[in-house]
């Protein structure tokens, strides 16, 4: 059992979810209530990671991270290192790959708030900020929690992108999914089996929470 790899996966999963959730709240809220030109294009763009092979993202990231690219050169100048083969690089990749898993549930959460409720808050003289904290967030919370858990679970299962930009560095980029692949290639079925079972249990628990939340929401609504 590669505890280090598992810990790294959990760190990446929590990190991705923590980074992405505030972003998803801003974007999801706008998408839920505003109408603007080009909205379908924006929604399509944000949904892209759902359908793109992870290798597409991995390829573009690898090229972008390289110090020969404009971005890579700038990053190296600022931080003296490259994003490729680093935890930070994985975090960037993971945040991008998980955008739809965070934005869509948040958007559904805000969409489920009736217009009358928002109008009532407004008529009570609540400021926009106050209404957001006191009315919108409490009502949209199942969507937010679903977004958090889905992002967490999906990051645990990330493999293709990590394989392409990670470099399999223990404690830095060797996630549990990579470690399983690694052990299986090394014909070490025992280690691969133990970790696979652990990841299976974790993922089941996480996705179970999502369905439980969904039921809770529908019973209430």
């Amino acid at each position: 059992m590669d505890a280090q790899a598992l810990a790294l996966s959990l760190k990446l999963a929590v990190g991705t979810a923590v980074f992405l959730l505030p972003l998803a709240i801003v974007v999801g809220r706008v998408l839920a209530w505003r109408r603007f030109a080009g909205k379908p294009a924006v929604e399509a763009l944000l949904a892209l990671p759902l359908v793109l092979p992870p290798t597409v993202l991995g390829f573009y990231l690898l090229v972008t991270f390289a110090p020969t690219s404009t971005f890579g050169a700038l990053y190296q100048k600022l931080f003296g290192t490259t994003l490729a083969f680093s935890f930070e690089g994985l975090l960037v990749a993971s945040v991008i790959a998980n955008i739809p898993f965070a934005v869509q549930p948040v958007q559904r959460g805000f969409e489920s708030i009736a217009t009358e409720v928002r109008e009532a808050a407004w008529l009570c003289g609540m400021s926009g900020w106050r209404a957001f904290w006191r009315v919108e967030l409490p009502l949209a919370w199942p969507g937010l929690l679903t977004a958090f858990v889905l992002t967490f679970a999906h990051t645990l299962g990330e493999f293709g992108v990590v394989l392409m930009v990670g470099g399999n560095i223990p404690g830095e980029t060797r996630t549990a999914a990579i470690a399983i692949y690694d052990r299986a290639q090394a014909l070490d079925d025992h280690a691969a089996g133990v970790m696979a079972a652990t990841l299976l249990a974790l993922s089941f628990a996480a996705i179970g929470v999502v369905y439980w939340l969904d039921r809770a929401r529908r019973h209430r609504g």
Binding site: A66, A84, N168
Partner: protein, 255 residues
């Protein structure tokens, strides 16, 4: 009903195995990426047989073959995996050596690491902290990764290098890491550095054979191999394939 019937027919045609044209299905170590493509083209010109090539780390491929992957011929980057498959009863015979692999240390253009046959430049760059990332293939299942580790051990640089390694899933991926310039140096297959993709991309030094256990590359026919694969097996071991292998930096084993 007739419509359903024709839909089923179309589907069946889509998923049916191709009519039994004799194709050699080859699983090959990724250091052969370019050399084997040339050899397969020459083989097709001479015999008319088509070849289907799959490249990967020898360990990965051996694993798939052991679990029943449909290949006719396996070209490993070492002998060990061939022996493993023979023991598992998946091979037709014990196979034959076809090439001896060599490794190089490569530094992409602009890298602060000097390359030399003793790995002195790598060692001093590691000690000085100038070498931040060194790419090699994964020593756990890629023979070229194992050779790279042995060479680093021989140069007394393994302990320094370990925390700096970026591991490629196979030697081709390690080479690709080096090509993008995201690592400061790489220890990879000589055969890959000699391909067009590497032209003008950096400098390399061939590491002497005594620095690592020889990469005696062995190929073996797998159970159920057809005529095309059997002919290709002979072709790769013949004088016709030798110049290509030599051009890509492989040694030719004595028979």
């Amino acid at each position: 009903m007739a419509r359903l019937g024709s839909a089923v027919l179309v589907l069946a045609a889509l998923f049916a195995p191709p009519a039994s044209a004799d194709v050699a299905r080859v699983a090959a170590a990724s250091d052969l990426s370019f050399a084997l493509e040339e050899i397969a083209a020459a083989f097709a010109r001479e015999t008319g047989h088509e070849t289907r090539l799959t490249f990967g780390s020898s360990g990965n491929l051996a694993r798939q073959i052991r679990e029943g992957a449909p290949f006719d011929l396996f070209l490993s980057a070492d002998e060990w995996y061939v022996a493993l498959l023979e023991k598992a009863g998946r091979t037709d015979g014990a196979g034959t050596p076809y090439a001896i692999g060599r490794i190089v240390v490569f530094a992409p253009a602009g890298s602060p690491v000097g390359v030399d046959a003793e790995l002195a430049g790598v060692r001093s760059a590691l000690a000085a902290g100038r070498l931040k990332r060194l790419a090699i293939a994964n020593p756990d299942h890629a023979p070229y990764g194992r050779a790279a580790r042995e060479a680093l051990e021989h140069a007394g640089a393994w302990a320094l290098a370990r925390p700096r390694l970026a591991l490629g899933e196979n030697v081709s991926q390690a080479a690709q890491f080096a090509l993008t310039g995201s690592v400061d140096a790489a220890i990879i297959a000589y055969s890959l550095v000699l391909t067009p993709a590497f032209r003008d991309k950096g400098t390399h030094a061939l590491l002497p054979e005594h620095m690592h256990a020889p990469l005696r590359q062995r190929m073996v026919l797998l159970k159920g191999a057809g005529t095309a694969a059997r002919e290709l097996y002979v072709f790769i071991g013949s004088a016709k394939a030798r110049p290509v292998l030599e051009r890509y930096g492989f040694g030719i084993p004595a028979r």
